[in-house]
Symmetry: C2
């Protein structure tokens, strides 16, 4: 009887529940990888905090490597959002990229988790740096005016990334200084011209 | 006889040797705090890598907290260097700050160690963020044109810090993209105008 009742509640059926549990494991894994580092976070510690059996973590994600892969996978919504920002009209593209970063951190939990894990792991894990190139830098490169030659495009994308990374770390990870407390609109006003110059302005 | 011989070699006398050992312990501690985090680095693990007895670490640095303090202490040479950069003629001050950052990472081992430890620990340790304000941000604040009101000075210093931090992390910690491989002179050309605008340029 109870089993039948559970199954009949469609929004709580086994399939949805499965998704919810897998998602909870992923959230905990992202946080533990970010805070403890890859070595110290274990399938057991992740299972413990998620309140599930370690076997269930292995069942959903196969291995610790694959679980890390899932954490460093850019969420589809984020990819869509940054693609749009990167193809905004060129004159407002710097602002669009800064707005995209702010929106993601402040209104998109999965996107913010992805960012946080990537930024915190990048210092210690080569794989996190490589994945950041695919999930983030490639979009910045896409935002650089296309007619330029390849080297200049890579240069400009790299310069824009230094400012985006510095902004994300000081405002959202360290949360220090005026940059951490000002409204998002002000961040756009102050930082977007820097990104814009790196994208298509005069460099020297 | 051997003892007397050792003592008579003035450059290797007990006092210098003491300094050498204390310095080696400090170098190892900075690296372990940066790479393992405060919790995982222990007096024992630091002593092990430095090849000394743990009691000697305690003898020189009293406690783990005090050892961390020493790692986050800006080296005197670095303080002198950034003070000079922060008081360079205002029109070239952005370039002076970027040059100072590059010189420190590339030619001053103690300064680079201090930076690396501070940047890597800041994500997880409040004390590292607080010390960075004293050892780094205060100099950037000193570089902002003095006649401005306090809020604007704090705003400008914070903006400049976002770019300095992003530059240091992408070029020296992550070592990704064009920013990591270009000559220091090019970094100055591309990044100094950003710092200069934040210091005394038009913000909006």
């Amino acid at each position: 009887m109870p089993r039948r009742k559970t199954r009949s509640t469609s929004s709580r059926g086994p399939r949805d529940e499965r998704g919810v549990v897998a998602k909870r494991i992923l959230d905990v894994a992202c946080a533990q990888f970010a805070d403890l580092g890859y070595t110290r976070a274990t399938l057991r510690s992740i299972a413990g905090e998620a309140g599930v059996d370690p076997a269930l973590v292995s069942y959903y994600y196969k291995s610790k490597t694959k679980l890390l892969d899932a954490c460093l996978e850019p969420p589809a919504e984020w990819t869509q959002r940054i693609s749009e920002a990167a193809s905004a009209p060129i004159r407002t593209r710097g602002a669009a990229l800064v707005k995209c970063l702010i929106y993601t951190w402040e209104h998109d939990r999965a996107g913010a988790n992805f960012f946080r894990t990537s930024l915190l792991m990048a210092a210690h894990e080569q794989v996190a740096r490589e994945r950041m190139v695919v999930g983030f830098a490639v979009h910045i490169l896409g935002a650089v005016a296309a007619p330029l030659d390849e080297n200049e495009r890579l240069l400009r994308a790299s310069l824009a990334s230094t400012q985006m990374v510095g902004l994300a770390i000081t405002r959202y990870i360290w949360q220090v200084g005026a940059i951490a407390t000002m409204p998002g609109e002000d961040v756009v006003v102050y930082i977007a011209p820097t990104i814009q110059r790196y994208l298509n302005g005069r460099l020297s």
